[in-house]
Amino acid sequence: MLNISHLTKIYGSVKAVDDLSLRIRPGVIYGFIGHNGAGKTTTLKSCAGILNFEEGDIEIAGVSIKKDPLYCKRNTAFLPDNPDIYGFMTGIQFLNFIADIYSIDAKTRQERIDKYSEMFELRDSLGQSVSAYSHGMKQKLALISVLIREPKLVMMDEPFVGLDPIASHLLKQLMREICDKGGAIFFSTHVLEVAQKLCDEVAIIRKGKLVKCGSMEEIAGDAGLESVFLEMEGETQNV
């Protein structure tokens, strides 16, 4: 589904991502873990086609994002950690706009908007201006805009930040549903307990370099993901 090979992204003289390679198969929830500034967001944004990168390639369903960015973007969705969405639109205007961009027909969009806005308890607020939304409401609206597209690959940066417990629970269920239908989820998180419970596979990144990746069993083992992560961090700092 997603194949990152030798990705390198440089900001000025700093390598934010350094020769990173990952492979995410369909049906898999893939966690991406690392400290602040490790390069998680840069990697996710590169995969979403938001950032250009200097070296390497990213393929979505076998198509290079450099060669056909529109195809890749049509089949993926990205949710940032702090979704700044159009404050000048109402919630329904925003969802309708996204549905137009992704060519979702009128009947389907109506059904999906109804379904997800009710699920996340946002339906009553859809007529309000996005600028009047709280952070959590914006997060939910952005999430609904992702779900109505039914993308094959969903990339999310800290998706649980700002969501209430019910919405978090729903999101976890929906992530699994997407994967069960043959899609894939690639998301970053700092909440290691969530990652351990939710992810099928995990990658740990430090200072732009991939430190470890594999199935959750392989990485976390009996000690648990938190212990492994902290141990690795300690080792790296001692070196």
Partner: protein
């Protein structure tokens, strides 16, 4: 604390005028922008020189030097208030970091004071455009006096008085908007009313000034008799030390009281949301649109939901349409008036004046730089466009479409109407319309090009990229430069009058060059933002 906040505010101001190249993170085009800004300031100042001489010649021979400064200070106050009142509300109450700062242990008065300094600086610039020429004209007519340094210091006190009035007006706008249900519409209407008032005064200014000049002695007598404090305050400019102290104390005390008043209500205005009506969403049938029309619709929604955008980049449209309505209503009156003016001119001028409607419409159209702040307005939500399956060409087209849809009808209408009023032939009318359209096309391409070259995405207030960005200023002056160059070229070609219609090739050619860049290399530049 105050120093740190002031530093932040000044840094914000500096970032606005010297945007960084987002890739290299280096400052770009600072010198050019400073030169352009200086040229504009000096040119506007020159318009006050004539006014200064008119008053100086009326009042100084009568020994009423203080009345001269009273009049010029009043004009400077008006200019300063009109120039900065529209930004006062947004700078004071609409900044994105209000909540962030209010969450810190900073008294609201301190936050407000720092924001007031930003408003003061913009108002002070406008004030100096009027009062500095007044001081120079005084020195020319009355000679350089020992109190020249006091006159220069007085600029600050008058600036503070202007700030008091500006911030109180901004406060009133804030109160109205905070309680309004339709905030965008209310802001637009309130601002248009203020603007209409300004133009009402402006159009009557000339006869008003003449009346003042002819009744100089009477005015001096009346003010010194009935409004002595105004006389004392005005004498601050004529070497009266008591007058100087009075002006200083008055402005400082009024400023202090204003800060006290505004800081008490700062939180209420900045964070109140009373106007937002929370009604349950009523579902209506949704319709599918194509990608291109969805993007254009997005631009329209943004434009009409952002009052600063409408008022700063669409004012020329409103004025053009108002003038069109006036021209239709008073068609015969205006036509006969214009015909008598044209009949009095030499024949070679008549041919040259056949070009005027397009230049006038072009000049008016150059005020509507809708595309110039368009890319900067994406701000932090730029990630949305970049993650969508849309090309940069589609994004650019939508931005240009908004500009063309809003600008072409008024320009075509105005040009055709003025051509009809001037009694031009159908062919001359067509040439004028085509020329007006080519200028609109040029402004659209130039605005987008500059927006791409000088993006300002890290703003804390949406008024900043609209009012203070380099892209807007350069586009507006660029369009003016083209119109002036065309007028000069037409004058030089007055003996080969048949060539003049071909002058529209210049803006059209430039438009083609800029569009070529946008739709080829612009793609990479947009992705690099």
């Amino acid at each position: 604390m105050f120093k740190a906040l002031l530093k932040k505010q000044l840094l914000e101001l500096k970032e606005v005028y010297t945007p960084r190249n987002r890739k290299s993170k280096k400052k770009t085009g600072t010198k050019g922008f400073v030169i352009l800004f200086a040229i504009l300031t000096v040119s506007v100042s020159f318009s006050f020189v004539g006014m200064g001489f008119l008053f100086a010649d009326a009042f100084l021979p009568l020994g009423l030097d203080w009345v001269y400064f009273m009049m010029m200070s009043a004009i400077a106050l008006i200019v300063s208030i009109v120039g900065s009142v529209f930004s006062a509300y947004s700078i004071l109450y609409n900044a994105k970091d209000n909540e962030f700062l209010m969450a810190m242990p900073i008294p609201p008065a301190t936050i407000l004071s720092v924001r007031l300094i930003a408003v003061f600086l913009s108002g002070f610039l406008f004030e100096c455009m009027a009062l500095v020429p007044a001081i120079i004209v005084y020195a020319i007519r009355a000679g350089i006096k020992w109190y020249l340094p006091l006159q220069v210091i007085d600029l600050v006190w008058i600036g503070l008085l202007a700030l008091v009035l500006t911030s109180l007006l901004g406060y009133l706008v804030g109160l109205v908007v905070a309680h309004a249900r339709h905030k965008s519409l209310t802001t637009i209407v309130v601002s248009l009313v203020l603007l209409a008032l300004y133009y009402f005064i402006y159009f009557r200014l000339n006869s008003f000034l003449q009346a003042i000049a002819t009744n100089a002695a009477l005015i001096g007598e009346s003010v010194s008799g009935k409004a002595k404090p105004i006389m004392w305050l005005s004498q601050a400019f004529t070497g009266n030390l008591w007058g100087f102290l009075l002006l200083m104390v008055t402005s400082v005390v009024l400023m202090g009281l204003t800060v006290l008043l505004l800081s008490r209500h700062f939180g209420k205005i900045a964070f109140t949301n009373k106007g937002v009506k929370k009604t349950a969403y009523v579902a209506r049938p949704l319709h599918q649109k194509g990608v291109a029309s969805a993007l254009v619709r997005r631009e329209f929604v943004r434009f009409f939901q952002t009052p600063a955008y409408v008022l700063n980049c669409g004012l020329g449209i409103i004025i053009s349409l108002a003038l069109c309505v006036y021209a239709v209503v008073r068609f015969n009156f205006l036509k006969s008036g214009l015909e008598s003016v044209l009949a009095a001119l030499p024949p070679e001028w008549k041919d040259l004046l056949a070009f005027v409607p397009a230049l006038g419409a072009g000049f008016m159209g150059s005020m509507n730089v809708i595309t110039a702040p368009s890319i900067s307005l994406e701000g932090n939500s730029l990630w949305l466009l970049k993650s969508m399956p849309v090309t940069s060409a589609q994004v650019f087209s939508a931005k240009q479409a908004l500009h063309l849809y809003l600008n072409l009808p008024p320009v075509i209408l105005t040009t055709a109407l003025v051509s009809a009023l001037m009694g031009l032939t159908v062919w001359e009318g067509i040439i004028n319309v085509v020329y007006g359209m080519s200028l609109v096309g040029f402004t659209s391409a130039m605005g987008l090009y500059m927006g791409l070259k000088k993006p300002l995405l890290d703003w804390t207030n949406e008024a900043v990229p609209i009012k203070q960005s380099a892209s807007v200023a350069i586009t507006m002056f660029g369009a003016w430069a083209i119109v002036i160059a065309e007028a000069v070229a037409a004058y030089l070609l007055r003996n080969s009058i048949n060539l003049i219609p071909y002058l529209f090739i210049l803006p059209l050619g430039l438009c083609a060059v800029l569009n070529r860049h946008l739709y080829t290399r612009g793609d990479r530049e947009f992705r690099d933002l």
